[in-house]
Amino acid sequence: MILIGLGYGCKGGAATAALASDAAKRVYVAPGEKDEVYAFLSGGFSGQMSVYGIPSTRLFKIIPVFSVFPENGYGYDEETKNMLRTTHGYIPWDDSHHIEASMTDGKQDGRWLFLNANNTPRLARIDLKSFETKEIIEIPNSAGNHASPFATENTEYLMAATRFSVPIPQASVPIENFSKGDFKGTVTMVKVDPKSGRLSLELQILVPGFDYDLSHCGKGKSHDWCFFTSYNSEQAYKMIEVGASKNDKDYILAFNWVRAKQCLDQGKASNFGGEYYRNYLPENQPAISEKLSGVKMLQPKDCPGVMYYMPTPKSPHGTDVDPTGEYIVGGGKLATVIPVHSFSKLMDVKDKPEHRSGMIMDIPILKYESTLAGEVKKPCLGPLHTEFDGKGYAYTSCFVSSEVVKWELGTWEVQQHLPAYYSVGHLSIVGGSSKDPYGKYLIALNKITKDRYLPVGMELPQSAQLYDISGGKAELLSDFPTVGEPHYSQMIPAKLLMDKAAKIYPLEENKHPYAIKNEKDARVVREGNTVRVYMTQIRSHFKPDTIEVKSGDTVFFHVTNLEQDFDIPHGFAVSGAPEMPNLLIMPGQTRTFKWKAPKPGIYPFYCTDFCSALHQEMQQYIRVLP
């Protein structure tokens, strides 16, 4: 066992990194040149997503998803605040873990990204033309949406399974009833409209009360299946770190979603309660927020063949399917091996009684050896998650021993140990979870950076490390601090996205109910105590430019940016507006700034985004009358 780069108290991290001498050249992107790959990193507890260029590791953008965002006013303005509405009320940020890229025939298609909110269960869709969050759907009957949003091969569905089992429907029962089977989990199938990307809840399946952790769906021959890891098969409810680690094996749940859909169509699912919001942001219009109620719930006993348990050592985290769809790699975070299940074997044995060792809630438990393709022996400490390079090799992150292990599919032999600084969680290879990995870069998404960077107080930056995996031996190229916790990532070749990026909102297509499309329509309209200001912006002035309202009025500034030029947003800010930050308004876009007119006086407003030589003059006044 090689222990490299132990996270705690490790000294001289940089010095211990065996850097290739030309590493700097290989990450250098000259001024004006463009990166080769987009890396989308989830923000963990920041609820955001950040966009980096690879190999330069330059940060390009932060996309707010489950978080309000002062830079552009997402989550604050009248157009987007309903995106963060839930059955629990308005939730200004959440904990975001896993990014999934949309796929066609198992290959990245560059249309959308999906992201989960773990704490208040939700899924989001991010459009890859505008790099904006367009839809958020709440998942009812779920307590902690961790094992999501993993897509089927053609993005027919996104899967979402609950991290914390609870009574479903919710009920106040003694907590010790957890171990009496009163707590349950759910697996949710979220349907994705193939044209629009719109999300809808198609079906939930009630499953035993374990903790469902991660998922990946099959490819090719395993197209019909998704695989979910679970821990706490002990159903411990106190001292869980001990209680949930007793069993030698927990389970990977093999779920036949095509069969589940069949059972739904045959009427085997029943109406079940559960309220949820679905918030949708049409192009250049205010978000439409709907409260919906009720789901179809399927019990595994009513749909034989829909689910099987594959025992997997030990408190598994990752369940990763290789590009051929044959191998399902478990990441037993307390295990001493990396177990690999065979899809073909699963198909051979799943309905043969001699290969079963029991049932839980009518879900057959298969014998470990019956589906096992092989084990990587003593790979590292704390194997978590595996990605594939498409050339027959797998890379597994090891949290405890802070390393990435490269091993070969089929022989199960370890090829290389790569140190990580430190405590690596997920990995990402460009296209590495698809059928067609691009296979050149790998990033390790780390949790701890003691001694790696200049200290900046007690909260040190989290970080990611970039490796070149194109040659025989993987090589560390660089590392870089990240925004929030870089929990998981999807990396997409730039050529798939860069030419499709939207440049402007065409004015003629602006359907915002309060848009005005030329200056002569700019006006102030009073409706009782509400004042609507129909305002335009263009370099370098507002219209109307002097405004009078009364103290106590509710004022809506409906601001349309008349520019049709790439890269010319305008800002809008009013002095002393406690409920609103600054707004950024893209060319051709309309957004609304709500302001309660304060005590009488003169209040300036101005453009906050540098727009032209006369930007500083893009300022005017509101008079508040008594």
Binding site: I504, N518, R539, D567, S612, A613
Partner: protein, 148 residues
């Protein structure tokens, strides 16, 4: 031309100004200045325009587009953000006007007249996502206004 040269020189060493005035250089060297501006057709997609008698229908369409995309910065009688447009069809060739509408960034970098106008008005004219056929209609509207 001295003022213009100074601005461009300043732009090269000051990123903010560079972004304002010259951000479509895209790494190319500063172009050589045109030798003469008399009868200039400007720089852009339009190389030849044949004018007929005034087409009222086209002028009407041009008026609508002008009001949406141009009038925030241009009036006919007075300078606002950009120059007053009265008489523009007599001062400039039809090609120059259309190229200025369709390609304002490159025009203010390379065309001597556009460079002088930028030095005078100090705001980069915006490209307003106008199609070539729409620029022709706007030109027709400008002709109509000049005949009044």
């Amino acid at each position: 031309m001295k003022i213009i040269k100074n601005i461009i020189k300043f732009g090269k060493i000051t990123p903010v100004i560079l972004g304002l005035i010259a951000f479509s250089y895209c790494g190319k060297e500063k172009p050589a200045e045109a030798e003469s501006s008399v009868g200039s057709k400007g720089i852009g997609p339009v190389t030849s325009v044949t004018l007929g008698t005034l087409d009222e229908g086209m002028a009407q369409k041009g008026k609508q587009n002008f009001e949406t995309k141009c009038s925030a910065c241009h009036k006919f009688e007075e300078k606002v953000v950009g120059p007053a447009l009265k008489g523009v069809t007599e001062r400039r060739t039809p090609e120059w006007i259309m190229n200025m509408i369709l390609n304002p960034m490159e025009m203010t970098q390379k065309d001597p007249i556009a460079q002088e106008l930028l030095a005078e008005h100090l705001t980069q004219m915006t490209f307003q996502n106008v199609k070539e056929s729409e620029a022709r209609e706007i030109l027709e509207y400008l002709r109509k206004m000049d005949k009044k």
